[in-house]
Symmetry: C2
Subunit: 312 residues, 2 copies
């Protein structure tokens, strides 16, 4: 099958066999493309890899949209011009192949649950911590989508009643995303650099460097205690958010992916400690908190897994 991860800025695709080996790859960017152009780029990307593997049986797409999975319709998207697009039927007609489509975070958690960090677990929660925080759920072995396909927005759970707002469409305050995303870590790093000018973080700030989550992580890995403290705080707050999900859903595995996880144990260890301290027994004792296995390719692989399963 062909798996396509159509993210907000780029497309990543490949021909993928049942054992999840990627045989051919394709990349595309769609800066500024309108609806027709975005769909054309997707078709071209599929045709490119299909030329190298003409015997594919189906195509799976993960798209950054609210998706009605049963009807294969992209209802709305804040990242691509895909509002009210009968995506599955349209693509299936243009490609003359069976097409399957779901939200990109749903296919990412599917990849991790079927073949990755949560392999073998029936109940899995995934958080992708990048600029924002995405999430997906596999419950009772199936992707859980909720009433409209909008489920899994773990980044927008309230963890601080009167906490800060964050950029984007979310009108909540004190979301996990406002406190623990890469953006939030950069902001906390800036504040810590102001407060501790002698730290490496403070020196970077004095040199005029932009304080991003990635820079905080780099300085923390280099041993800067101030940067480490910023990550420890973020990890503890992440843990408090995971406590909510653990107490509500009693999952077997919580998978953490995205750029923030470059911090590794500097974020994971405090998160695990807070879950151990604050989650209810027995849910807290039973859950495993694991870094994602697939990284950037989770969406492409999960789209392929969906196509393999649903075309079978």
């Amino acid at each position: 099958v062909i798996g396509i991860d159509a993210g907000g800025t780029k497309l990543l695709g490949g021909v993928i066999s049942a054992d999840l080996v990627v045989h051919h790859r394709v990349h595309r960017l769609w800066r500024g493309a309108d609806r027709a152009e975005v769909l054309d780029i997707m078709v071209e990307a599929v045709e490119e890899v299909r030329a190298a593997a003409p015997d594919v049986d189906a195509v799976g797409f993960g798209i950054p949209s609210l998706v009605d999975h049963d009807r294969g319709v992209s209802l709305s998207s804040v990242h691509l011009p895909l509002e009210d697009v009968p995506f599955r039927d349209l693509m299936s007609e243009r490609l003359a192949l069976p097409v399957f489509v779901d939200n990109d975070t749903n296919v990412a958690v599917l990849a991790e649950q079927r073949h990755g960090a949560a392999r073998g677990a029936r109940h899995v929660v995934m958080l992708t911590l990048g600029t924002g925080i995405g999430g997906g759920l596999v419950l009772d072995g199936q992707v859980y989508r909720g009433t409209l396909g909008a489920a899994g927005e773990i980044g927008h759970m309230t963890v601080e009643l009167d906490g800060p707002a964050h950029p984007g469409d979310c009108t909540n305050r004190g979301c996990l995303e406002a406190l623990v995303s890469g953006t939030a870590i950069g902001r906390e790093g800036w504040e810590a650099g102001q407060e501790y000018p002698d730290s490496e973080l403070g020196k970077a700030l004095a040199r005029g460097r932009e304080i991003t989550g990635a820079l905080v992580t780099e300085l923390a890995h280099d041993g800067d205690e101030t940067a480490r403290a910023v990550l420890a705080t973020a990890g503890a707050r992440l843990g408090a958010g995971i406590v909510s999900v653990v107490n509500l859903l009693n999952p077997e595995v919580v998978v953490l992916g995205g750029g923030v996880l470059a911090a590794g144990e500097l974020v994971l260890a405090p998160a695990r400690a807070v879950v151990a301290e604050r989650a209810l027994r027995p849910s807290g004792a039973a859950v495993r908190i694991e870094p994602a296995h697939f990284g950037e390719e989770a969406g492409m692989l999960g789209a392929a897994v969906m196509a393999l399963e649903e075309s079978a």
Copy 2:
């Protein structure tokens, strides 16, 4: 069938027909009973109603335990001495009837989803706001139990990172239960009474009355603005907790039950307003927030529904 709701302090049971009419009822208290006595009381209660309706086909039990539903085992309980009890097999042998058992909050949400406030909805979240806060989930039309049967603990989601602790086994801080339970409303009412001695709440405090959630609600219904403000704050905080569940699970209906709901719109209206303001579109726009239909009998009726469905 016979439905039995075995709560922390009392048992409520009845003979219930497929149209959910209650034909005979039984009540029991078990103050201080040990394990053998609790089980004896349950058997006697079943036998009492069975004598009036000898043709029952099965018995359903809702018990205040962590339940392994597939094996019918009560794994642990903070309310009754039912640790590691092979409940289903033991009761089935003593009663010579098919027996089905689940956690009491799971059968309550089942009753509301099959026949009550959330009838016809596939994805339902229920919160029972009393001394503490209980919860249950129906996802994709089925009771969702999680890995160990511990799912649904909505009252122990973190809504305030460094918020107060609350009595009980939960080691979290800033739980919904610490902020919005009947106990929390009583505590906030006490504080408001101290601050506003001329309010009815303040006068009640000066007369030496115990400030409970029920008293705050009574004074609010009588028009005391201070008591109304306490309930409005509780409702807004409840709303912020519901935002978490709505963003995570995209349910069709959130059902609110328990003693706190005696406050009616004084709590519901601010909760709904916060969900409308702070939840993500489209999940927030799609969800209905409804008072429970069944009140105190939800557990008994849900235990009967479970027995009807699983013995069919």
